[in-house]
Symmetry: C2
Subunit: 588 residues, 2 copies
């Protein structure tokens, strides 16, 4: 896909110097993505595109505005190869305000989270809110809504028809991370139809292939998706790279994969299949550390040549996702650029989007208009009136001990979890917890026409007491609650119904803090600074309930009900055996 | 564009090893285009696609056919990034027979020559004749028919409408070399409309930008085309590469550009914009030296790393032209592959096309069916009855000397030519030649409804006497004759009318040799071996007329009427000032 210039003839005239360019950036060290050199010269911009690069001395600068770069480096605007804006908990326009000053001019975003809540309408909302932004938010259509059909219920169900409808949105460029890799590998009809629509419409197919190897990996590649941001291990990354995958090296708020992936590819003769992504970054991380610029910085710190690292966040990514004239500074390319003093520090001095100065010294310098969408005011948490009974597990015996299959986290930090066999105490026909490491877990379907509530037991979650609840709960985003007593769970659930979703911590029947996320139960309408403060209070509340081992305790509950991550996860239908795609009953 | 697998589910099953693959190539040194490594292993193929690559030892090989590579290298099938099949003077099916044993499994061909003769029908003929071949002939739609509208008349005229019609052909992937660079640079409507159609249809835009530099080059790039095979000079190639062009390093029968281009890019940090092409290779060159494998070999001889050189003729090219799953050996990629003993020698032992063995030890091992098209039997040389008078220049004086603007070749080898001012003798109102270095030149329009004949004088062409005539005469392919006496020209012209086109040499009123090219006046129906013999007799005849300084004298006349090559060329309208796009009268 070419990013189209509105009036090519005017651009041609500016290139020839027959008319003035809009902007000339003089005296810049231009970082060349084609040969890796650094050239000293002037870049001319007209109508948002680069018209000409002059490396010779010129008597007159033919431009309406001239910016003297004073010898600073000029690099292409940064591109995030894969992310979910929803993970920032900000709406697209507020997300833009936070990331533009860091030099992110394009993101490839997968509105998978809101797609699971509001379906096609949710994806369109994310698209439309970004329509007039001074950055490019390209959309990959969520491929797996719900993530694992038949094993969970989300707010929507995307079949080929929904995918086809969404291809009409102008900024749609790909099919987003195809997480249901088993459906691909085994050629399931629903998935084959979705892949077929995407290929027919010329979309690129973004992959998601954690731990895939050998013939399974080959089958996934034969299925079509050929990118992956899910490599945690050097061998895994090496095998994927060798087999032709684009690797999106990830540094999210949770997953720090750069050391492992870089180790896998650092001796490659070619690095053009290497890209960078944030996947999921919280507002505070963005504010404090940065966005994709921070990922570039980390790659450099891990030993990557700065120009290679920049190329991985610009030119390579544009090739990966099929955006032809993006990701380099050359005639005919989109004039997204960054001026900075140091290629290793990666702190932008000036950010240009389509030739317009949009940020300077960390501050946005264009206005981003506020919007109002009806969807932003709609309560997405649709749950029947609840009682304490809803959060109580009834046992098939009256009193005594009973064997049970429960969910168990492998460690207090990682999201990997398994099934464990334990003995639970039963008193008066109800399960009571006999070990401080055990907690109840409930997943309450929060969508219309579905009252499913699954209640189970989890070991090693990390809280010591109280109830922790969240409507951010990948990927179906049902209301997930981890709790000691049903009474605490009920308080948390009712609070999140009231505010339209978010996160809530309850101790002794009292709310410690609620992080309100009224848009789809996922997003706040607050800007990054305010949201980060609020999120910090929420983290504090999480720690108060015992989640002290994670740097970011908010992220503990959000992947508890994610049945694409091995080996056992919860859904509104119960405990899911991820690898074998079946439900595991609590009692045999 | 993805090359589509007919039954993906079957491919998936083969990848998983649930069913047998069609073919396994075991014990191969697999050259990896992603990391540049060489891996020892087995490649599985199903339904024409690579299903799996196994690097571990296996107990059973799950395939119907097993070929032991005996430690030979396995590389992707070679891709020629730019060529005109017509330059081989063979029809597509005979061309295929000649190049497949050399490992060419894909060509990006521009049927520009036949397009200028038979228009849309000619392009469709080239496409259809290649329909069932054991190689992939991808078509770029000729962009410049005629090459320079208004300054020459060809057999057809391609506007946006014709381009749009041709986009419907299944193997069309691009818009072919946009030679009329001035039309691009100055945003002429006809050209802008053509570029717009191509971009809308998702075609890549192949460029042609000889000598373009500075702001002119920038404007050309802003216009859209971003590849070039026309770099003859290191500085020129360096500037194009730096500005983001894909460089197609060329080794044609005429132009040997690899040393200059390689010198320009050899210190680049990245070589992924470097491709290889043959552009125009004659049948004998193909037979004796090879095809794109020979270009790879020459690149290596010039100092290029063999794996980089192979990548430039496989993976890089597929990226340049937008063919997604071509150019590498990896799951999901098309199973075009070559087994060979030596990466520097580049002589294929076995060639696989879509997993089928199509050539072995230089011999084709599949049948290529003969076709018959009505167009192949149609005489394209439509010229009114001619007389000696048609080849005589009448002067505005009766006797004496007259100043004239004639065409002059810069040297006996190069195709560059200029305007020279000379004094010509006039006897009885007719120009007679007073210098052995002067010859008459006539360009006779050979298409229906046009009887244009332009007669002029040329210096430094190289023949000493006689008449040399050709209907191969880039790009309009009018009948071009260089001669001493009108009588000789008439004999040659009538002979080529009779046989339906080709080349003819006449001495003292007698035909020395005629190379018959009855298909469009451009192509023979003979296979390479026979054609090469015939062409050699024609070369001999050329030498007999004095063309002794060129290694290949056939190529002297064919670019005489090519008004996209500076600085002055002939057309059926007269002598053309190429750079200023105007006609130059013989007498002021």
């Amino acid at each position: 896909m070419e990013i189209k210039c509105k009036d090519k003839k005017v651009l041609l005239k500016a290139a020839l110097g027959e008319i003035n360019s809009d902007l000339a950036i003089t005296n810049a060290k231009i970082v060349n993505m084609f040969n890796g050199n650094i050239d000293h010269g002037t870049v001319y911009v007209k109508n948002g595109f680069i018209a000409h690069i002059e490396l010779n001395d010129e008597e007159t600068i033919k431009a309406d505005e001239v910016i003297d770069a004073k010898g600073m480096y000029l690099i292409p605007g940064l591109i995030d190869s894969h992310e979910h804006i929803e993970s920032s908990m900000m709406v697209p326009r507020n997300f833009a305000k936070a990331v533009i000053p860091w030099g992110t001019t394009t993101v490839i975003t997968d509105p998978h989270e809101i797609g699971n809540v509001w379906g096609v309408e949710g994806v369109k909302y994310m698209h439309d809110d970004a329509d007039d932004l001074p950055m490019r938010q390209c959309i990959d259509i969520p491929s797996c809504v719900p993530a694992v059909p038949g094993l969970e219920n989300a707010g929507a169900d995307f079949l080929a028809k929904e995918i086809e409808e969404l291809t009409k949105l102008p900024r749609v460029i790909g099919l987003a991370e195809v997480m249901d890799f088993l459906a691909v590998i085994h050629g399931e009809d629903r998935m084959m139809d979705i892949l077929d629509v995407a290929e027919r419409k010329g979309l690129y197919l973004q992959g998601h292939a954690p731990f895939l190897s050998g013939r399974m990996l080959s089958a996934y590649l034969c299925g079509g998706p050929n990118t992956c941001h899910e490599s945690r291990d050097t061998n895994e990354a090496y095998e994927k790279y060798r087999n032709g995958m684009f690797l999106d090296m990830r540094d999210s708020s949770m997953c720090k994969n750069i050391p492992a992936v870089w180790d896998a590819v650092k001796d490659s003769r070619y690095l053009d299949h290497l890209c960078l992504c944030t996947d999921d970054r919280e507002s505070e991380d963005i504010l404090v550390h940065g966005h994709i610029n921070d990922v570039v910085r980390i790659a450099i710190q891990n030993g990557m040549n700065p120009i290679d690292a920049i190329r991985s966040a610009t030119y390579n990514t544009a090739r990966e996702v099929g955006l032809k004239n993006l990701g380099a500074i050359a005639p005919g390319y989109v004039a997204d650029m960054i001026l900075l003093n140091d290629l290793e520090e990666m702190t932008p001095s000036v950010v240009f989007y389509g030739g317009q100065k949009v940020a300077e010294n960390g501050k946005l310098c264009v206005e981003i208009k506020d919007h109002s969408f009806e969807l932003e005011r709609r309560n997405s948490v649709s749950i029947k009136p609840l009682t304490v009974d809803d959060f109580t597990i009834k046992a098939p015996i009256e009193n005594g001990k009973i064997k049970a299959n429960i969910m168990e986290f492998e460690d207090p930090i990682n999201s990997l979890s398994d099934v464990a066999s334990v003995e639970l105490d039963v008193v008066d026909g109800k399960v009571v917890l006999n070990d401080p490491d055990l907690k109840f877990v409930a997943v309450v379907n929060r969508y219309q026409n579905n009252d499913n509530i699954a209640v189970h037991v989890v070991r090693g979650f990390g809280t010591t007491h109280g109830a922790l609840a969240s409507t951010v709960s990948h990927d179906s985003h049902n209301l997930t609650i981890v709790y000691d007593y049903a009474e605490n769970a009920l308080v948390a659930a009712n609070e999140l119904k009231r505010v339209g979703g978010g996160m809530c911590a309850v101790e002794d029947g009292k709310i410690i803090h609620t992080l309100e996320l009224p848009v789809a139960g996922l997003l706040s309408l607050k800007p990054a600074e305010e949201l980060a403060k609020d999120a910090n209070l929420m983290k504090q509340a999480n720690r108060q309930l015992g989640l002290t081992q994670l740097e970011n305790p908010l992220l503990r509950i959000v992947t508890l009900a994610l049945p694409v991550v091995p080996n056992a996860k919860m859904s509104d239908l119960g405990l899911v055996d991820v690898n074998n795609k079946k439900l595991i009953p609590l009692f045999d």
